[in-house]
């Protein structure tokens, strides 16, 4: 069944879609300096739980992978593994300029520049660092995308796995992970 084909959505699909966008489990995985923005987002001041956004400790339970800042090559490997361990449907939010174009690490020998080459990013949040307000607006954008059926990065990843894998393997020299098979 095509989820993004709006006309064919049944009532069940509506409910599913509603539940999906209002219950976003975020994997508590801080990669760069952006992780420091997550606690204020979650706690009293900004209270992301209002939107059903709660942190989860394991990728098996999580829906959203937040890449909170620059990714070194070493971290990328872990992030890819973590991403692949998450259950479909899953969403990636690129967080801060580093994930968009490398940001202040644009000429670093050791960080990746464009996250989208390595995994499908659904929403980018601009800023260095983005404030919690931006983070929440990013999440709301994600919800809108889900509602519209356009948050389909996980499908793109499946379809273009070879391309992604090639990119990943280009930067990760010691690739010793089990292959993602489905």
């Amino acid at each position: 069944m095509e989820i993004n084909d709006k006309d064919t959505l049944t009532i069940v699909e509506h409910i599913k879609n509603f539940a999906r966008r209002h219950s976003l489990f975020v994997l508590a995985y801080g990669t760069g300096c952006g992780a420091i923005e997550i606690p204020p987002t979650m706690t009293s001041r900004y209270d992301a739980e209002r939107f059903g956004i709660v942190g989860r400790a394991t990728p098996r339970q999580a829906d959203v992978l937040l890449i909170t800042g620059y990714l070194s090559v070493k971290t990328l490997k872990r992030v890819i593994r973590t991403y692949e361990q998450m259950q479909d449907p899953k969403y990636v939010i690129g967080f801060g300029s580093c994930t968009i174009n490398g940001g202040m690490y644009w000429d670093s020998y050791n960080t990746i520049k464009v996250l989208d080459q390595y995994m499908p990013v659904d929403v980018y949040i601009n800023g260095c660092m983005p404030r919690p307000e931006s983070v929440i607006s990013g999440f709301i954008k994600l919800q809108q995308l889900i509602k519209a059926g356009k948050a389909d990065g996980w499908k793109k990843y499946q379809e273009n796995l070879d391309w992604y894998r090639a990119n990943q393997k280009k930067v990760i020299k010691n690739w010793n992970m089990p292959d993602y098979n489905w």
């Binding site: 706690t43 209270d47 259950q87």
Partner: protein
């Protein structure tokens, strides 16, 4: 027709239990948020979580036990519910409560935990195993005061049937919370342990153990576990209402009483930090056990 009615009664019970369960849990989330000066999610948030989990497109498992673990869990919850009289009297919501007794409930209540532990073990995640180790250790802690409290009630009423215990508490003065407050205290402290809310949430410690036993469970498995958790929460609350608050003659009364009971672990949970495992065990073996023993002595003296 009678059969159909009976069977629809089962489903109605499960439905009520599930609804009340997730609403209570949502209520807890809201209350927690309010205490933390937040707004909190909508009260039906848990339902959304559960639906989302069930609607996950994929799931992984590490073997057969990962199917069986949540299945054990739901078995324990539903069976517990089925053998508890939800209401004092009337034909509805009685289900199988005449066919079993308290001793059976005691054991079927841990059935799910053991099943979950097995499922968690299958995943091979060290965090799950550590969580199981802590969780099972904690069971040994809180079951002692719980059994003491139950024994006090059973001895006092000279029955092991929940129905007869309920029937004996026909007026407010006859409620066991007033007749034997010590047993109530011991029982409710044990209940704190059973809910796995803080201060007794070390088996699931999210930041430390990556949520402990269920850390490899996602999608439908986690959905099943959360469903089971909702039902089980209701079943336990009903059990305690029946034991100490004289049961309820209609659903509203039941809701009020159950909520009143539910507030105790919730509020304690909000304001307390976490016990280490051995601290929790030793705590259960100390004060609640002493109170439980006193309650039995009280009963013996009263007879």
């Amino acid at each position: 027709m009678e059969t159909l009615k009976t069977i629809s009664g089962y489903f109605a019970t499960i439905g009520v239990a599930f609804t009340v369960g997730f609403l209570f849990m949502g209520f807890r989330r809201i209350l927690t948020a309010r205490v933390q000066n937040r707004v909190g999610p909508p009260i039906y948030q848990n339902l959304l979580d559960i639906i989302k989990l069930w609607s996950k497109e994929s799931a992984i498992n590490h073997g057969l036990m990962q199917h069986m673990g949540p299945a054990f869990s739901i078995t324990a919850s539903v069976t517990t519910l089925m053998f508890i009289p939800v209401l004092r009297d009337g034909n509805w919501f009685q289900n199988f409560s005449f066919e079993g007794d308290l001793i059976f409930l005691l054991y079927i209540m841990v059935f799910g935990q053991l099943g979950m532990a097995l499922g968690a073990g299958q995943t091979g995640n060290p965090n799950s195993a550590i969580g199981v180790s802590r969780g099972l250790s904690q069971i040994v802690g809180y079951e002692i005061p719980f059994v003491l409290a139950l024994t006090a009630l059973m001895v006092y009423h000279e029955t092991t049937s929940l129905h007869e215990i309920m029937a004996a508490q026909d007026s407010i003065g006859g409620w066991n919370i007033f007749v034997n407050p010590l047993a109530f205290v011991a029982g409710i402290i044990a209940f704190l342990g059973m809910t796995h809310y803080t201060p007794f949430d070390v088996p699931f410690a999210p930041a430390e153990l990556a949520s402990g036993p269920p850390s490899e469970f996602g999608g439908k498995y986690l959905g099943m576990m959360m469903t089971s958790g909702s039902i089980f929460a209701f079943a336990k609350l009903t059990l305690f209402v029946n034991l100490f608050l004289g049961g309820a003659s209609n659903l509203l009364e039941l809701l009020v009483k159950a909520l009143a009971l539910y507030l105790i672990p919730v509020i304690i949970g909000i304001v307390t930090p976490r016990f280490r495992t051995e601290q929790a065990i030793l705590f259960f073996w100390k004060w609640p056990t002493i109170i439980g023993i006193l309650s039995i002595l009280w009963v013996v003296w009263m007879r």
